[in-house]
Symmetry: C2
Subunit: 308 residues, 2 copies
């Protein structure tokens, strides 16, 4: 590919957002292997796990071990991030020396009420001391915002609310905000409408797009967001994951499809699609279920039919 | 939706291209019901069946009955088309008074050799008298061209070959040419590259895009083709179908997803997505398998989160 449309940062969320929504629980040793394979495929920004109650999310049990083993093995520049839900989570992260954390809220009060029994603003107030402490300790901090493009309980979300939440997270110190189409209902026209309005009030370089392929529109939505200037996208190898709180949501958009689509347009991601396709086979064996990604299912012998 | 981006003609291929690739065989009475439901959902251009050997394709057995029953019931303006593979097929179509037929070739000699034991040009020469006779009898004639964006045996297809085949079909009298991404490998960049070159030598108003969602790129490819001026797209309700001759190919792009995507951009299709989603449930019962379309699987309560 000779054209160069710029660089896109891919944030691989499979080992956390993906695996926590799988019914089969992988032990830390498997999660470590998965992350090593992802790093080998060129991924530089990854979710490594979460410091939450293992009773609530047994899939992420002993994320300490994931960090402790990997921090001694993977290159220094890899950003391996861990979700923290509260002060206790931050304590656990701090204790083992994690360098990158993430916090999680939404635009919809109905969604956060059902999910964490808090209004959006209550959740933001809860996170403020955590983010400040994390930043003071030299951590990178990412903020996830769910239901940006639609809530299963409230429907359409007002732009003002999206801006208010993203702005609050940035002001408290988050380095990056991931805007989530949690239930996968966004249309590219909507992406354009929302992002063209956010662009005038928020720093685009710090916004990520997080899309689910529920309606098969995730790749188009990513393309539409890239057209509006977004250069960071979350995805999950083989489309691992979903959202347990959101009825009808299916998995995250598949990393290999995002990379194949973007590289085809001349963007540089640094990620090796062939290695991700091989990793899909490993995941099928580990999770004992077929992976849903269409590019993976098609078992491509030849990726690009448009190059000489 | 207040914006108006123009009208798109949707050609519903589920009752032929779709069903002929399903392992469960539906009797003519079910195929008739399917077509009536599609017409009720607003579709005006449909494949009704094919006049081929019932030994080769038992799924299309007694397509005569489909036409005979429906021609007395559906509005005059509905274009219900039947595939004919040879002179015998044309005879059968003529005998029952079919008004619209289709013929089928490819850009790849390796593909037509494996498929119908003919080179591309041999197949075109075979079709010439059929198309001429059909036109002389007042029929509409559609030409399908497979493997335009990639062949499982030959890989990339030269533009010159695509133009040569399409041009030969137009010159012999075909009213419309459907350009098929038979194995679903096209990338939107490739769509742009190929169509921008075809545009200077072929009449765009007579070209249709026929995409398979093998790699999850069909909707993006349709959008890219629309950007190049294509205004006719083939699709299949619930993503019925595939291609039995093409390894790794999955179903046609789902009509309801095409319509939802295009209408969201302000195009007018005249097709009712809600009715197609209901029809998906009917198909699941009839075919005794889950339908793969993601929009269908997501069971949307609310289609558009971007309208006030």
């Amino acid at each position: 590919m000779s054209s160069n449309a710029g660089t896109i940062k891919i944030v691989e969320v499979g080992p956390r957002d993906g695996l926590q929504n799988e019914s089969k629980i992988l032990p830390p040793s498997d999660r470590i292997q998965l992350i090593e394979k992802l790093v080998d495929a060129g991924l530089r920004f990854l979710e490594g796990g979460s410091f939450v109650s293992p009773k609530a999310i047994p899939q992420m049990e002993n994320s300490e071990q994931v960090w402790e083993v990997l921090s001694g093995k993977i290159p220094e520049e890899i950003d391996l991030s861990f979700l923290v839900a509260n002060e206790k989570g931050l304590e656990r992260a701090t204790k083992v020396g994690v360098k990158s954390i993430a916090v999680f809220t939404a635009t919809s009060d109905a969604f956060t009420q059902k999910n964490i029994n808090r209004t959006v603003m209550e959740s933001i107030n809860d996170f403020r001391p955590i983010v400040k402490a994390g930043k003071a300790a030299g951590m990178r901090v990412r903020g996830y915002v769910s239901t940006v493009f639609g809530c299963p309980y409230e429907g359409r979300q007002p732009i003002e609310k999206i801006v208010e939440v993203a702005d609050a997270l940035l002001k408290m110190g988050c380095d990056e905000i991931s805007l989530g189409d949690t239930i996968g209902v966004a249309h590219p026209r909507q992406i354009k409408e929302v992002l063209s309005r956010l662009r005038s009030v928020l720093p685009m370089a710090r916004l990520a797009g997080h899309f689910h392929d529920t309606r098969g529109m995730a790749l188009m939505n990513i393309r539409a967001a890239a057209d509006e200037g977004v250069r960071i996208f979350d995805s999950s190898v083989s489309g691992l994951g979903g959202c347990p709180y959101a009825p009808g949501s299916s998995g995250n958009v598949a990393t290999e499809e995002v990379v194949w689509m973007l590289e085809g347009f001349g963007f540089h991601t640094g990620v090796d699609v062939e290695k991700l396709l091989t990793l899909g086979e490993w995941l099928e064996a580990k999770l004992a279920r077929p992976m849903r990604g269409r590019l993976f299912q098609s078992k491509p012998k030849l990726l690009n039919y448009f190059e000489a």
